[in-house]
């Protein structure tokens, strides 16, 4: 098999190291970032098309065959997540040049950013539970540093919360990995699926599955574990907020999908009620929190909690339709939420505050900003013709097809709340009269361009909904035939 599968990890890793060496050379750094950022995007797209045409890819690192060596696996789900990650990362990267004014900040920011990117891509590609842990740590460690990098008071505070949470999660993850190794004697996910299948009634298996839900739920901000997210996502520097809400909380959802569609396939029915209940509560609590916010970044962060509930609901149906809808939701929410966060960063740059009451009259100050923000609002609110309409439509259709009426009703109610808090914030920021204090400066074009591109993508997702949902449908079908994955890793049996 080709070496294509390791490129999405190796390129960002190499780039990060080169960037560290080029600390004193801003121009060189810019060239390296541009070239390698684009080449990661190209590699991801090539990988996705190759997976789509030829089926699941696997790569034995160092030539040690599974289950003994380290294995990288690319199926459609990983391919989709990789492309999404690179689109959002590229926008956040180009935005960071306008956002971080000082060269010293950029020299610190960009290597860490690429380390984070490498960890994220690694988490999507690994086929081994322990490597998943290591990739999570690579990603988290970079996030810790990126979060507290600017040294603002609330960032230090949020950083302390995030790292305490992260350390605890790591310990839990290690304990779960140790438990599953003691039980099955392997850490390779495909091998685990084979070894666990005959013993699925063993109480230890369901206990470990529950621990994995806890670990990944903490990363994804599922309901009892959502408390850290609003602080962290709103305090982080804006390009990192966009990355956190756009892609990094989805890493947790990705891991839940991977574990429950491969290792614990037979426990899907057992955990369905729990996941659906938690999804509904997550949706509702997040929206309730968002309604009460006066700070636009905190509002968006609470909204992310609520939207994670929607995604988990699609996953919790455990049907092909539900999974396909959840994947479509992951894609469109990633694009929409990162564009909204980046737009909030523009507000912060204009007046040094993200409180909604400090802003107003954007419709006269910057019609472009108003339009972009409006596109984000209607997309997240689920109004056609944006991609957001199709994400909600597919999810609700999948729920009705599977006769899950209560989650569907909750989803409808929360949608109304979503519309309310989004339009209220848009109205406050864009339509209300000019704020007190200095007259507003125009937002810089450098910042508007990446946000505008993401907003265009929201609309494109609505217009091109059918090819994208064809892709997610294929990915969902692949997820529900785990024997394909196992055969790709373990070879013919």
């Amino acid at each position: 098999m080709t070496h294509l599968l390791v490129l999405p990890i190796l390129i960002p890793l190499g780039t990060a190291i080169v960037l560290l060496l080029l600390r004193a050379n801003p121009m060189g750094r810019r060239i390296v970032i541009g070239i390698s950022g684009l080449s990661i995007l190209v590699a991801d797209i090539v990988l996705l098309t190759s997976i789509y045409q030829k089926g699941i890819h696997s790569y034995q690192v160092g030539g040690w065959s599974a289950p003994f060596g380290i294995v990288m696996v690319g199926d459609l789900l990983s391919g989709i997540m990789l492309v999404l990650a690179s689109v959002i990362s590229l926008s956040a990267l180009s935005y960071s040049f306008g956002y971080l004014k000082k060269e010293a900040q950029q020299a610190l920011f960009h290597p860490l950013f690429f380390f984070m990117w490498a960890g994220t891509n690694g988490a999507f590609l690994t086929g081994d539970i322990f490597n998943l842990f290591v990739m999570f740590e690579v990603m988290l460690m970079s996030i810790y540093a990126l979060l507290v990098m600017l040294g603002e008071k609330k960032q230090i505070e949020a950083g302390f919360k995030l790292i305490s949470m992260g350390l605890f999660t790591s310990a839990l993850f290690l304990a779960a990995a140790g438990g599953i190794y003691a039980f099955a004697g392997t850490l390779n996910m495909a091998d685990l699926a084979l070894k666990i299948k005959p013993h699925v009634d063993h109480p230890l298996v369901s206990a470990i599955a529950m621990m994995f839900i806890g670990v990944f739920g903490l990363k994804a901000a599922m309901m009892p574990f959502h408390f850290w997210l609003p602080d962290v996502h709103s305090a982080a520097p804006t390009p990192i907020s966009a990355m956190l809400s756009g892609i990094l909380i989805k890493v947790g959802v990705y891991a839940i999908i991977r574990v429950f569609c491969l290792i614990f396939v037979d426990l899907q029915g057992y955990f369905q009620g729990f996941i659906l209940t938690m999804a509904c509560i997550t949706m509702f609590v997040g929206a309730l929190g968002a309604v009460a916010q006066t700070d636009i970044k905190r509002l968006l962060a609470y909204s992310s909690v609520s939207q994670i509930g929607y995604i988990l609901m699609g996953v919790g149906f455990f049907t092909v339709g539900g999974m396909s809808a959840a994947l479509f939701y992951i894609i469109s929410h990633g694009v929409i939420k990162s564009s909204l966060f980046l737009a909030a960063g523009i507000l912060k740059k204009m007046r040094g505050s993200t409180e909604m009451s400090d802003h107003g009259d954007m419709i006269n100050t910057s019609p472009a900003f108003t339009t972009i923000f409006f596109i984000g609002v209607i997309s997240l609110g689920g109004i056609p013709p944006s991609g957001g309409f199709f994400m909600k439509f597919q999810l609700i259709k999948a729920g009705l097809d599977g006769a899950f009426y209560i989650p569907v009703i909750v989803a409808f109610m929360v949608s109304l709340m979503t519309l309310f808090y989004l339009f209220r914030s848009w109205q406050k920021i864009c339509l209300s009269g000019p704020p007190q204090g200095n007259p507003l400066a125009r937002p810089s074009v450098k910042l508007l361009i990446p946000v505008g591109i993401l907003a265009m993508l929201c609309l494109v997702l609505g217009l091109a909904a059918s090819p994208v949902s064809g892709l997610t449908q294929a990915a969902a079908e692949q997820l529900f035939s785990p024997e394909l994955y196992i055969r790709a890793v373990m070879g013919a049996m």
């Binding site: 008071k153 302390f160 605890f168 310990a171 850490l187």
Partner: protein
């Protein structure tokens, strides 16, 4: 030995949880350290310890060896845990300097 390890793991997890419930920021950090060591010991114990021999090839037979995989894993885990804990300690100092308090319930600048 068979009984000792579960007791050690239990004490580490229990003590860590107890310390984390305290209000002092340093105790939280120490508690997290204890819990991650508990997880490390748990991981080590997943490869049979008992009276197992050192897993070095070249001696006779393949029976009676300790499983070397968890030892390799735990080495990685210790390094990662150490780095994260060191970072957390530095941040704890920053929090103490910024807020002039080591009381966790005072750290509530971002509520709501």
């Amino acid at each position: 030995m068979k009984l000792l390890l579960p007791v050690v793991i239990g004490v580490l997890f229990g003590g860590g949880t107890y310390l984390m419930l305290k209000k002092n920021i340093l105790k939280l950090v120490l508690g997290l350290g204890l819990i991650s060591h508990g997880a490390n010991v748990l991981l080590i114990s997943s490869g049979w310890i008992g009276a197992g021999a050192v897993p070095i090839l070249g001696q006779d037979g393949t029976e009676g060896f300790v499983d070397p995989v968890p030892q390799a894993l735990v080495l990685t885990a210790i390094v990662i845990g150490f780095a994260a804990l060191a970072f957390l300690l530095v941040l704890a100092i920053r929090v103490y300097r910024d807020l002039k308090t080591a009381d966790i319930s005072e750290i509530r600048g971002q509520r709501g």
